[in-house]
């Protein structure tokens, strides 16, 4: 794929679709097109299972008409089908309720993020992907007690163009290698639960080292879960959260309440909390949308608003809410290009390494690797199973724990004393976060 040529094609298609929409009676239109190709190789049930390839693209169009809007998505660039989509979108808009706050983003200048584009990665053949998969699989199965249910490597290449009838045009591209691993450890009748992880590389020469790190981490976590026993006695107190759970249990629920869309609907508990304490003083949360190592990195929001780095919570105090174009118009604020919250969450690092965090617990502390349960972002209440958990104590071998449930309220936990780890980690996705030792969690033994 030649990204420049393909983007030229999409720009032309978007412009034509907008022109047709206006000619067909729209007051305004937004068009998003994307095209790409991917190849995937899979390993299942301890054997290579499938090679697959896909090539395609899609177009979605939102029509504004008489303060109403309707949208249609199709997986075709054929002009007659695009015209059919425009006509359908007009039909979809007609019976809805007029809303004067609906708007299109204005023209803007966007930062050039210079996302890596590795021609060697783009041109990979299936055999090269199979070699990488073989390498990943062997690195994970260092011990024959590790059983891999599913391993996949895929190479994904694509471009995207968004445009609207206000003259806004924004484009980006991606070329990356993604991998995922899911498996369990088996020793006689002892079968651990599933565990999984994934990561990605944007350059082929980064891939091997990152894959080996993923393999080491997964096999270590799986083997560490063998001979797990239930916790003898529950407690209410401290739990050590890894970065993935910091995101799931602390950052995501907090961000829900910072969004203008939740505030305008009366669902946010932080509508009037600007400048107020919403978390412990060691908690500083930022949105870093220009961190190109992360999947969420982007120079523009889905509406075409330029993104900007922002401090959301500083030393526990709420600094800002975030808004889409629609919620900003409704609330009389400035759009921040964050309709769905931060693009890339980043916490300021603390001062403790993992051993120090464990020591600060003052007792054997639960360290789950995943959470399987319910979390109500409105109330902040959560309860569920702590998966892949160990009981950690300084100087003592971690003890695997099975069938332990945890529950609590996110907002009580955010305000309670916490200790923040100094090392920030990412899985290549949407965050760069540390371990955090939190308090006020109910740990319920069987």
């Amino acid at each position: 794929m030649n990204p420049s040529k393909e983007l030229d094609r999409l720009r032309g298609l978007n412009a034509w679709a907008i022109e047709r929409a206006m000619a067909m009676g729209a007051d305004g239109a937004f068009v998003s097109t994307q095209s790409g190709l991917s190849s995937k190789v899979s390993y299942e049930k301890n054997d290579f299972s499938l090679v697959s390839s896909h090539r395609g693209g899609g177009l979605s169009i939102t029509i504004h008409k008489d303060e109403r809007c309707g949208g249609v998505g199709i997986n075709s660039f054929e002009r007659d089908e695009v015209e059919g989509a425009i006509s359908r979108a007009l039909d979809l808009a007609r019976p809805t309720i007029p809303d004067p706050y609906i708007a299109l983003a204005p023209q803007a200048d966007y930062l050039n993020l210079e996302t890596p584009w590795d021609d060697e990665l783009v041109g990979m053949e299936p055999e090269q992907l199979l070699d990488l998969l073989s390498h990943l699989m062997k690195a994970t199965r260092v011990d024959d007690r590790v059983s891999l249910d599913h391993v996949a490597v895929d190479r994904s290449v694509g471009v995207r163009c968004i445009s609207n009838s206000e003259g806004m045009v924004a484009t980006d591209r991606h070329a990356q290698l993604n991998w995922s691993l899911m498996g369990m450890a088996i020793e006689g009748d002892d079968v651990t639960g599933f565990d999984y992880l994934g990561n990605r590389a944007r350059r082929l020469d980064d891939a091997n080292a990152k894959m080996e790190a993923s393999a080491r981490e997964l096999s270590s976590r799986l083997l560490g879960q063998l001979r797990a026993r239930p916790l003898e006695e529950g407690y209410r107190g401290k739990v050590l959260l890894p970065p993935s759970l910091v995101e799931e249990l602390l950052v995501d629920p907090l961000v829900y309440h910072l969004q203008g869309s939740q505030i305008m609907d009366g669902k946010s508990r932080m509508a009037d909390s600007l400048g107020e304490k919403v978390a412990h003083e060691s908690f500083t949360l930022k949105d870093t949308p220009h961190d190109t190592e992360l999947r969420g990195a982007t120079a523009f929001s889905g509406e075409g608003i330029p993104t900007e780095p922002m401090v959301l919570v500083e030393s526990g105090k709420l600094k800002t809410h975030v808004d889409s174009l629609y919620s900003s118009r409704r609330r009389g604020t400035r759009p921040t290009g964050n309709g769905g919250g931060p693009h890339a969450s980043c916490l300021a690092p603390g001062q403790f390494d993992r051993n120090e965090l464990i020591g600060r617990a003052g007792r054997p502390v639960l360290f789950p690797s995943r959470f399987s349960g319910n979390l109500d972002p409105v109330s902040g209440d959560f309860s569920g199973v702590a998966k892949g958990a160990t009981l950690e104590e300084v100087g003592v071998k971690p003890r695997p724990i099975k069938e332990v449930m945890i529950s609590g309220n996110i907002f009580e936990i955010l305000l309670a004393p916490m200790s923040v780890g100094r090392e920030l980690k990412t899985d290549g996705g949407y965050y760069r976060l540390p371990d955090i030792l939190v308090d006020e969690v109910s740990v319920i033994s069987h």
Partner: protein, 462 residues
């Protein structure tokens, strides 16, 4: 399209499977007096799977012209050939199956297609307004409706040549009550295979506005459920979730072969004698299950698999490849969500057979426990550990229903919970039709059963 695919497959060597898939979706959502979403999507294409030299290759194309599909067949063959030197255990064969040659168009498909956008959008607006007016403590009402029109045509070199058109509508109501830090969310959701008569005739759709508001008001003053191992009576939606999450996934043959807890347990008692559990695309019990299928994505006619009979594990769920290895007959459990997805072993409709008790009788047997209502999300693990959520519960004290509790999580080990079942009601409901199963791809499924009494771990607050 059936003719196009049939022509293309003539003269192909080995096993080739061509699947045309058109997925048309409509979705509408009204919230707080405004219309938040009015959208459609149309995705169509052909998925091509080839078995060559004991290896699978897959490709897909959104260009459904004969030339593009023929090119896709060659790409899939090339993919299969590239795998030959890597795959250790070649696919030795595919199980003999009852391959479908039917052409089915559910009349509900055209009835719902012909229903005007004005009527569909108007119903959403009407329900949202009614819910908002239901009680002054509801500060935000939300109603969403979606429908998926699905057309599939499947042709294989060994005899499947079938087509179907089905539609699956869903309706959801949600109410936010309270303010600031003291807010609750209540809701109802229904999904079926069929038309509006089936959707709005579903028991869960009856008075769904009033019931959503009532649940929200009860939750506003409710405590958290007490934690610990409890006697519980599960509503049919929770029984369905138990069947799907805790049992169904562990008996999918790909999970079994990877080492799930069900491996090696065929013929072994895994539940009490009351437990008989099934999965099937065309179940005889109940009406309009959301996972209804006449044939699967390998073209296999769907029938039912008895997974557990009188407490004894009797079968796994298979595609044709795993069925061949296990010497069992495939019952139609190979499913793909989109044209560019390859078929995986998936559940369809999964259910527990009803018993002979009344709900009151089940409650009477509980001294101190919970009636758990309203299924939330759930997950299962290879070792049989599972967790699922419920939106609310009622206290059971000396056989009588007492106060309301807010959301509760339930967990346990699948076969231990099945062993603890000591009572089943005689009524039966499909009650998971608004859910999707995720396994790398989505799948529309349903699940259900009677009310069931058992022991489970409840995750409350200490």
């Amino acid at each position: 399209m059936l003719d196009v695919l049939t022509d293309l497959i003539q003269g192909q060597d080995g096993y080739v499977e061509l699947r045309y898939h058109e997925h048309r979706g409509n979705g509408f959502m009204a919230q707080k007096g405004r219309f938040d979403h009015s959208g459609s999507s149309i995705h169509r294409g052909v998925g091509i799977r080839v078995l060559e030299n004991g290896c699978w290759g897959f490709s897909s194309t959104s260009d459904v012209s004969p030339g593009a599909i023929a090119l896709g067949i060659e790409e899939a063959r090339a993919s299969a050939r590239s795998l030959v030197k890597y795959r250790m255990n070649k696919v030795e064969g595919l199980a003999e199956a009852n391959l479908s040659t039917i052409s089915l168009e559910d009349p509900a498909y055209s009835r719902l297609m012909e229903l005007s956008l004005e009527e569909k959008i108007g119903r959403v607006i009407e329900l949202e307004r009614a819910l908002e007016k239901e009680h002054s403590k509801i500060h935000t009402a939300l109603v969403s409706y979606s429908e998926i029109f699905e057309e599939k045509v499947i042709v294989t070199t060994d005899g499947a040549a079938c087509s179907r058109k089905l539609v699956r509508p869903e309706i959801r109501t949600m109410a936010y009550l309270g303010e600031g830090a003291d807010q609750v969310l209540a809701g109802r959701a229904v999904g079926v295979t069929g038309d509006w008569e089936a959707l709005f005739g579903h028991h869960e759709a009856q008075n769904m506005v009033e019931e959503t508001a009532r649940e929200g008001l009860n939750l506003l003053t409710a405590d958290h459920a007490p934690a610990g191992l409890k006697d519980v009576v599960l509503a049919p939606s929770l029984v369905g979730l138990l069947c799907h999450e805790a049992i169904g996934h562990t008996v999918e043959a790909d999970f079994v072969e990877a080492g799930s807890v069900a491996k090696g347990k065929l013929g072994v008692r895994v539940g009490s004698e009351l437990v008989s559990l099934h999965d099937g695309g065309q179940p005889a019990l109940g009406e309009h299950p959301a996972g209804y299928l006449p044939f699967d994505d390998e073209g296999v006619s769907c029938s039912s698999t008895t997974i557990i009979e009188d407490g004894v594990l009797t079968s796994y769920l298979h595609d044709r490849e795993s069925a061949y290895r296990h010497g069992q007959a495939p019952m139609g459990n190979a499913r793909a969500w989109s044209y560019n997805d390859e078929p995986l072993i998936r559940m369809t409709n999964t259910w527990l057979e009803p018993g002979d008790m009344e709900l009151e009788g089940l409650l009477e047997g509980v001294e101190d426990g919970l009636l758990v209502l309203g299924a939330g999300g759930g997950q299962a693990d290879a070792n049989g550990e599972f967790m699922f959520g419920s939106s609310c519960a009622r206290e059971i004290r000396s056989g009588k229903l007492g106060k309301w509790y807010r959301e509760a999580s339930l967990s346990g080990v699948a076969f231990d919970v099945l062993q603890s079942i000591d009572g089943l009601s005689k009524d039966f409901r499909w009650d998971l039709g608004s859910g999707y199963c995720g396994k790398g791809q989505s799948a529309k499924v349903d699940a259900g059963g009677p009310f069931a009494r058992c022991k489970m771990m409840v995750g409350g607050r200490l």
